[in-house]
């Protein structure tokens, strides 16, 4: 086969010049553990955040999980495997948050988690974020992960990601006054009751999953 020949000649042409990364990996692992202990002495929450942060990074890098691709690839390539992965992740998070919120509400606390007003500002921000993410090659998590992988172009993305975030923080007061404070805060379970809210949310996610699956197969045949 042509492809085999091309590959074999290429392998001979470009001899392996890879460094052994194991010593670096061991040093980094020791550093992660030492820092976890140090953070743990300051506050246990800090240590938990540190371990979860590192774990998230590892999972993101190893799984090549990319939120940007989940929204971009269905249109660009017809690939929907990442879209389905994101929908699955949201479904699992939905079930988990439902349990956490139910327990919190039963013990008389307020609704935990970030319940924020929804309005036109979300649509404007999402569109701007989407354009930026596709041009710069990654959303927040993707940019951070590839920054760590050593992809230099994304170091530039991160620099402007910080600039943009600072600018956003600077103007946040205006948005808060102009749009956000006038928009409604919606917590579906409080509005519809838990069974109806959960059924509605899972139905929407399931519908989107079905749609993504159908779209992926349809584009495959074309």
């Amino acid at each position: 086969m042509e492809i085999q020949q091309a590959r074999e000649t290429a392998v001979r042409r470009t001899p392996k010049k890879r460094k052994n990364q194991l010593p670096i990996a061991i040093i980094v692992l020791i550093l992660v553990i030492v820092l976890a202990v140090v953070f743990g002495q300051i506050s246990s929450g800090l240590a938990v955040a540190w371990i979860f942060g590192v774990a998230f990074g590892v999972v993101l890098q190893k799984s090549r999980f990319c939120f940007t691709a989940a929204f971009r690839d269905p249109i660009l390539t017809g690939g929907t495997s990442l879209s389905k992965a994101v929908l699955t992740a949201i479904s699992i998070a939905l079930a988990g948050f439902a349990v956490i919120q139910l327990f919190a509400l039963q013990s008389g606390k307020g609704v935990p988690g970030a319940v924020n007003p929804v309005g036109i500002h979300v649509a404007i921000g999402a569109t701007m974020f989407g354009i930026g993410a596709v041009i710069s090659g990654g959303c927040a998590s993707g940019t951070l992960m590839r920054f760590g992988e050593g992809f230099m172009m994304q170091w530039l993305s991160l620099a402007f990601f910080v600039v943009g975030s600072l600018w956003g923080a600077h103007d946040f007061g205006w948005w808060q006054q102009a749009v956000i404070s006038a928009s409604p805060k919606i917590h579906l379970p409080s509005l519809l009751g838990w069974p109806a809210a959960l059924i509605l949310q899972f139905a929407v996610l399931g519908g989107l999953f079905f749609l993504a699956d159908w779209w992926g197969k349809k584009r495959n045949q074309a």
């Binding site: 086969m1 042509e2 492809i3 085999q4 091309a6 590959r7 290429a10 392998v11 470009t14 392996k16 010049k17 890879r18 460094k19 990364q21 890098q61 090549r64 990319c66 940007t68 691709a69 971009r72 690839d73 660009l76 390539t77 017809g78 690939g79 495997s81 596709v134 710069s136 090659g137 990654g138 993707g142 590839r146 992988e149 050593g150 992809f151 230099m152 172009m153 994304q154 993305s157 584009r219 495959n220």
Partner: protein, 75 residues
């Protein structure tokens, strides 16, 4: 049965994929396109797209975080 190389080093997703799609369209059936990439995301969507289109694909990691994707144009 020619072999073409496409340099996508330093290009972020989705640029390598768009370049691959364009380049592959110019090739003849049986030609092999070697796409050089160093963006981990392109490592996923370039082979995924090519396989979906029905072209045989192989991947070789030629250096740390540097890959060559071999695509044989099948149709």
């Amino acid at each position: 049965m020619a072999e073409y190389r496409l340099d996508c080093l330093g290009e972020a997703c989705p640029v390598p994929l768009l370049k691959t799609q364009k380049k592959l369209a110019e090739l003849k059936v049986g030609d092999v396109l070697v796409v050089e990439i160093d963006h981990s995301c392109a490592m996923k969507n370039v082979p995924e797209w090519a396989r979906k289109e029905g072209h045989p694909v192989e991947i070789e990691e030629v250096g740390d975080g540097e890959w060559e994707v071999y695509i044989e144009k099948a149709k």
